[in-house]
């Protein structure tokens, strides 16, 4: 009953030959099949998983598909970890944040609303919020003050350099670099330093109102200039 030219593994579909149970895990090599066929099958699956949109991965996560969470992790955990580490300056703490963020996605995937933005920005907003919470907790506040004092004393606290060390795209770096210095500095202190706008105002010795409008103006300008990048990201 095989179609001519079907290929040697066509029989896997045939219940009479293959039985009603699957011979093994999907994508696993089957001893009765030539290796090349198994490889193609496996590549086909990988392509499918990798082609799935973020929104579809989240739908599959809602059905408790660990593989979908694994693919989401592969796509976004590096960014989550990078941001957490950047804000917390502590690898172990950053790893805890990564774990927490992905477990949250696993347990409450419905909190992600694709209408409201990309999965990447959803995850990073959660990451940032959690990292800032940790930073503002009493114990790490003390560490942080000590750390900031130390780094200011030794090498000078060079936020500018730190930002440029990030592996952000050239375009983002360029757009950030083109912001008026005051706007950029306020954004960096708030986002990477985890400071509230009131703290930023104290640090920069500026009125609070000035700081909050600089943050908003700077983000607005970056958003306009990065609009096409953001739209491309949302498609992915």
């Amino acid at each position: 009953m095989r179609d001519p030219g079907l290929g040697p593994d066509g029989h896997a579909l045939n219940a009479d030959e293959a039985g009603s149970d699957h011979a093994g895990p999907r994508g696993a090599p089957d001893a009765s099949h030539p290796e090349s066929a198994s490889l193609r099958t496996s590549a086909d699956m990988r392509a499918d998983l990798q082609a799935a949109s973020d929104a579809n991965l989240v739908l599959a996560i809602a059905r408790y598909h660990e593989e979908a969470l694994a693919e989401t992790y592969r796509r976004h955990a590096g960014a989550v970890f990078g941001l957490a580490r950047r804000v917390l300056w502590d690898v172990a703490l950053a790893e805890e944040v990564v774990q927490e963020i992905f477990l949250r996605l696993w347990n409450a995937p419905e909190r992600f609303d694709p209408e409201r933005g990309s999965l990447r920005s959803f995850l990073l907003a959660q990451t940032h919020g959690r990292a800032v919470d940790l930073l503002r907790s009493e114990s790490s506040r003390r560490d942080r003050e000590a750390r900031e004092a130390a780094s200011t004393a030794t090498a000078g606290y060079d936020l500018e350099q730190e930002v440029f060390d990030l592996a952000v795209s050239d375009q983002v770096r360029q757009v950030l670099g083109a912001l008026p210095f005051d706007q950029r500095r306020a954004i960096e202190l708030a986002y990477f330093g985890g400071h509230s706008y009131r703290e930023v105002a104290v640090l920069l010795n500026e009125p609070e109102g000035t700081v909050k409008s600089r943050i908003r103006a700077g983000l607005g300008r970056m958003h306009r200039e990065l609009a096409s990048t953001i739209a491309r990201g949302a498609d992915a």
Partner: protein, 256 residues
């Protein structure tokens, strides 16, 4: 705070740089203000670009996550009216979820199952269902793996032609891969009116089981086919799908 004071804080809010009481007031405002919601969402996209340090995903953390979710007692997934096929599927969620560990890099399995399950989940959701299913199938059709597979046409597969009756022109076809991944491709079925969806069924050991809803204007939809499924049918059903066909079969075909 009045509205303009709240709005002046939106940038700082998007960066988690406001005080807790301000955050509460802003969130209350956002709940009723789509314009400000969009503004915050835009700032968060910018922040995501800034925060994207492009590091490698820490693999040790994935091990911890995999352990955690394998050991956790979670409520069973909501029962589905549809997709009874899942009862026999290897990637069956909920009961009997294997305590195995999936590595992100090697997590190649169960893609079609995941996609079929997407259809399954959608069937459980009432609102906007057809739109979502159409989005899934159009996403697949935009250079997706299914499309490439169909275009390539030379990977091992069986093709089932679905037609209104024997000898009639094909309405659709189903390309079944050896592992059970299958792609439904609509070739001649017209878009359905609002509130209706095509649904794909299989005859499996004498039972009619749903393979999932296809949307009102499907192009390519990935489904999961079990080895004991030989005959496939398409019907026109209410949006959201049904647990058994309620209308005459529009197209059917059997694996040769």
């Amino acid at each position: 705070m009045n509205d303009s004071e709240l709005e002046s804080l939106l940038g700082a809010y998007a960066l988690d740089a406001v005080e807790p009481d301000e955050a509460l007031a802003i969130e209350e405002h956002l709940a009723g203000c789509p314009r400000c919601r969009a503004e915050v969402a835009g700032y968060r996209e910018v922040a995501a670009l800034l925060g994207n340090a492009g590091e490698a995903a820490p693999e040790a953390v994935w091990e911890r996550i995999a352990d955690e979710i394998a050991g956790a007692s979670r409520p069973a997934p909501p029962p589905l009216d549809l997709s009874r096929m899942e009862a026999g599927a290897s990637g069956r969620p909920g009961t009997g979820r294997a305590r195995r560990r999936v590595r992100p890099v090697y997590a190649l399995a169960a893609v079609a199952a995941a996609l079929a399950l997407v259809v399954g989940i959608l069937s459980a959701k009432v609102a906007d269902l057809n739109n979502q299913v159409n989005a899934v199938s159009s996403a697949l059709s935009r250079g997706g793996a299914a499309q490439q597979f169909i275009a390539a046409g030379n990977l091992p597969h069986r093709e089932v032609t679905l037609a209104a009756k024997r000898g009639a022109p094909a309405s659709a076809r189903l390309l079944v891969r050896p592992g059970g991944t299958a792609y439904f491709e609509n070739t001649a079925m017209k878009a359905l009116p609002r509130g209706r969806t095509y649904q794909l069924w299989a005859l499996a050991s004498g039972r009619v089981v749903s393979l999932g809803v296809l949307g009102s204007a499907p192009h390519v939809v990935a489904v999961r086919v079990e080895p004991n499924m030989k005959t496939f049918m398409v019907t026109n059903e209410p949006e959201g799908g049904t647990s058994g066909p309620t209308t005459p079969v529009l197209a059917q075909g059997t694996i040769a």
